[in-house]
Amino acid sequence: MDQEELDRAAGCRHWLVVGGMVTAVLLPFIPLIIWSFARRWFFPALWPTEWSGRAWSYVFSPGSQVLPALLNSVLVATAVTLLSIPIGLTAGRAIGLYRFRGRTLVQFLILAPTIVPALAVAMGIHVAFIRYGLADTRLGVILVHLVPVTPYMVLIMSSVFANYNPDFEAQARSLGARPWQVFRFVLLPAIWPGLVVGSLFAFIISWSQYLLTLLIGGGQVVTLPILLFSFANSGDNPITAALSMVFIAPALLFLLLSSRYLQGRSAAIGGFGKL
């Protein structure tokens, strides 16, 4: 074989890998999209024999269970995100800017929830939540969602603060800036991209939680994944498919918004491990 043939073979292999990869990523979405518009689609038909907008009109009809679940999901994920921002800002600042005794231990402790599964934590804390009236409530679900969200928010914010120079704050202060002015005009612009990515992460991680919501919400706090699961188990494929599409909408939005920040930010991408 001469060099040209070798190159062509390598090119073919390359396209095989890329083509296979693209197909494999997209393949599971195809039946999802088709099912959401199908009425009758029995084996062995490759294509639905009857189409229908029933699933989609159910999803968006005011009387369905979907809108309350959507509202719950948005409320919980927004509250978790808003709570996680000050948590991430403060701890991120301490870990990113300062070297102190016990720093490694603190980092280890804060990162531990990324490794230890939520199951043991949720089962254990359930008793305490029942005792303090937090079980079966939205507040309880929000609090317990902070467990998987906090490590990633802190991780992202501490990598942001590692590249932040606090001397600018001192300069602003010496020029007469008040604390809130320092925050608004010095700190916030510097950390803004990281804060956006971290918040998107927090939202998506909370949005995707199933087990924690199921255990602590006890079937009383019905979020989208809880509803999706019950439809998937009931075997109503069109509605399951349509709900799945609604459920992934924020994830796609997230990807579009954050793709320019995400490249090369491996610490941030680590957050996806929990989804």
Binding site: T90, A91, F100, A120, A128, V144, V147, W207, S266, G273
Partner: protein, 288 residues
């Protein structure tokens, strides 16, 4: 002097979350696994629940299945991710769109991936219909069972589908930040394709491979929703078994459920710590 107070104050909110909810939750799980449940009037502490769990044959079957799922998913997705990241590093037409698609399913929730796998791989699913159209099968039962199957292939498909992209995106980021200079240096020294991969790229990627694959292993070992949706009823993955015991109407099953989830947490922690130590050792000996 001021920093002495400032740092604990800055750390306080995050530590409150982690210590109260995470450490507190684990401690309560441990207490309840020892049978300490004041809520139903049980105050004595014993290892009975652990003894009972370790006597259950279905515990070992579930443990084996879970280890199989996590091991195979992690190994397969790590290898595929390496292949994809290497392929996406090269300049070619359509690389931007291919990279975008590759990142696409990283933020997709596992539940949706599981539904997609179900519609795709079940015996009356999309692939079975394609097989029928191609004349390979005559009825759904002819199609191999790929979901609710004893080998948990459906669960593994879903994990590989997500984890390949997760690990791949991280490896791609590392590769792009490295640039080509190391390889160019190796090339001018006469290293061939395989040698450049084995002695230049792979060692540089190793930290990324280890840290991302350990996250995948820990997740797939302890995750619950995908096995619940795609797994057969018996034996079920360990977290599903623990959850079923937890929701059992018999309150006496609760300590056993707690014991199982403590055992899961313990296994993962030991494996991760051992793995990290080995990785550090391997990285250290690789450098010298």
């Amino acid at each position: 002097m001021k920093d002495r107070l400032r740092i604990p104050l800055l750390l306080a909110p995050a530590l409150v979350v982690v210590v109260v909810f995470f450490v507190g939750g684990l401690a309560l799980a441990l207490l309840q696994s020892l049978g300490y449940m004041p809520i139903i009037g049980r105050y004595e502490v014993s290892l009975d629940a652990y003894r009972a769990v370790l006597r259950r044959p279905d515990f070992y079957q579930s443990l084996l299945l879970t280890a199989w799922i996590a091991g195979v998913s992690t190994a397969v997705s790590t290898i595929l991710a390496l292949l994809c990241a290497l392929a996406l590093r090269r300049a070619f037409r359509g690389r931007r769109i291919a990279t975008f698609i590759f990142q696409l399913n990283v933020p997709i929730p596992h539940v949706v991936g599981a539904v997609g796998v179900l519609f795709l791989f079940s015996q009356s699913g999309f692939l079975a219909r394609l097989a029928y159209a191609g004349g390979l099968i005559r009825e759904p039962a002819d199609f191999p069972a790929l979901v609710f199957d004893p080998l948990a292939l459906g669960i593994i498909f879903e994990y590989v589908w997500k984890a390949t992209c997760f690990i791949g995106v991280i490896l791609l980021a590392v590769l792009l930040s490295l640039g080509e200079s190391y390889e160019d240096a190796a090339r001018t020294l006469g290293a061939g394709r395989w040698q450049r991969f084995r002695f230049v790229i792979l060692p540089l990627l190793l930290p990324g491979i280890l840290s991302s694959s350990i996250l995948v292993f820990a997740f797939t070992f302890g995750a619950f929703e995908v096995p619940l949706l795609l797994g057969q009823r018996f034996p079920s993955a360990l977290p599903v078994l623990a959850y079923r015991s937890y929701t059992d109407v018999d309150l006496n099953a609760r300590p056993e459920a707690m014991a199982m989830s403590v055992i899961i947490a313990l296994i993962i922690t030991i494996l991760v710590l051992g793995y990290m130590r080995t990785a550090r050792w391997a990285a250290g000996s690789g450098q010298s």
